[in-house]
Symmetry: C2
Subunit: 228 residues, 2 copies
DNA sequence: CTGTTTTATTTCGCATACAAAATAGGCGTC
DNA sequence: GACGCCTATTTTGTATGCGAAATAAAACAG
């Protein structure tokens, strides 16, 4: 069982993660022009993995090819987070409906396992626990999509969920929010097990709208703080 | 004004289109193992553009990386087309709602222009006209997404719409279907212009459900023929 | 000084070379 | 005859070189 921990990631993955992180943290500013050679120098990698990483980031919408040889960090609109949550809501409600029809016993067991792990970390004692919670939450949503048995959906959600990290910065759960999330997860699993697609979809919808609302509040807060 | 016609596509694009086409037409069978060298030899290109094309196709779900050095043509489920239409329906209904709020006069003019071009080709006299219709239809849907002003959505729909070519094989419009499609398009534009998101979304929903139904019928037909 | 053309430099796309990792095949053992 | 181990081959990941295209800079005209 190879842990998800990073023993030695290959250069392409390393480049992808690094560039992405630098975009999300603002080290690479919006609209900034990128050149393969500079990134290659900065990251200490050759151009090949850089190229591959850029290609992926372009497809995911983090980077824009302008014309010919000009490549820029994409511009992120104000309501980016809101949009992502809405798109995720649409796709995940569909996923969970399929999952309710198609999930196997193993899928359901996996979901329960993830949720149990999250419960064990609640409330989170330290930063590490928080990190684990975030990852487990993502794993939960991925597992739902996987249970939907739709490669197409999986492909789309891969980018959509990856993208949702944009939002992650803002999402430090309060204990109340966290409990609600766990209850949502548990109810979703129950609905899947009961083979009740609409029930599952409704809870999922609530789950993501709650998340969107939480994020919106945070952003509002951080904005009003910044304005002073 | 450089026409969308292919004067001289670069090698990566060429590789992408070729591999994709070979997958969709079945020349590369589902589950077949792919090696960069073989594709490189077959297409007469070096490995670099092949690699890039493969990376893209993996992200879009046409190709699967299994473990280590094994890469296979993905397996497409029976109801692939149905799933694609459903996913498109969800995303495009959302798009068109945003478009109804955010579209500029230019966006709307562009939509009308595309629809007029389609009308001019109706009924299609020859295969070229049919081809133009297919492309214009795709352009219409892309224009809607563009008018929604959501880079994230654009990124996701790029792959989703590209993917919809899977379905294209089956979609030879009858004149009745084509007229209905054009009317749907026209009504969608009107709804956008009237700034009526829900109206627009409803028509779009009908539009795509009609399309899904048409495709389902064709598949049923071609299947029953094949069974004999 | 502004706008345009010409030249120089940068940047990318593609080909190729090499090393590390994975697969496949052959061998011996149980 | 089936299974595991070791070796040979294949395949990928990464680095690098070169030509073409695009961008930036300089020269020039108005």
């Amino acid at each position: 069982m190879q842990s998800s921990g990073s023993s030695r990631p290959n250069a392409t993955e390393q480049a992808y993660q690094a560039i992405r992180k630098n975009i999300l943290t603002g080290k690479l500013e919006e609209g900034e022009r990128l050149t393969e050679t500079r990134l290659s120098d900065d990251l200490g990698l050759s151009r090949t993995p850089i190229r591959e990483a850029i290609g992926r980031l372009v497809l995911e919408g983090f980077i824009e090819r302008q014309s010919g040889y000009t490549t820029r960090v994409a511009h992120f609109p104000e309501d980016e987070a809101e949009q992502i949550y809405e798109i995720r809501r649409l796709m995940e409600c569909y996923s969970v409906q399929r999952a309710a029809r198609l999930a196997t016993e193993e899928d359901i067991a996996e979901l329960r396992r993830i949720n149990a792990a999250m419960k064990a970390d609640t409330p989170p004692r330290d930063e590490a626990a928080n990190q684990r919670l975030t990852e487990a939450n993502e794993a939960f949503h991925r597992a739902i999509v996987a249970a939907a048995r739709s490669p197409r959906l999986t492909a789309l959600m891969t980018t959509a969920l990856d993208v949702s990290m944009v939002v992650r910065t803002y999402s430090m759960y309060s204990e109340k929010d966290l409990m609600r999330s766990l209850n949502h997860h548990a109810e979703i699993i129950d609905a899947i097990e009961a083979r009740a697609p609409k029930w599952a979809a409704s809870v999922m919808s609530a789950h993501l709208l709650a998340g969107a609302s939480r994020v919106a509040a945070r952003m509002q807060h951080s904005k009003s703080v910044a304005d002073q």
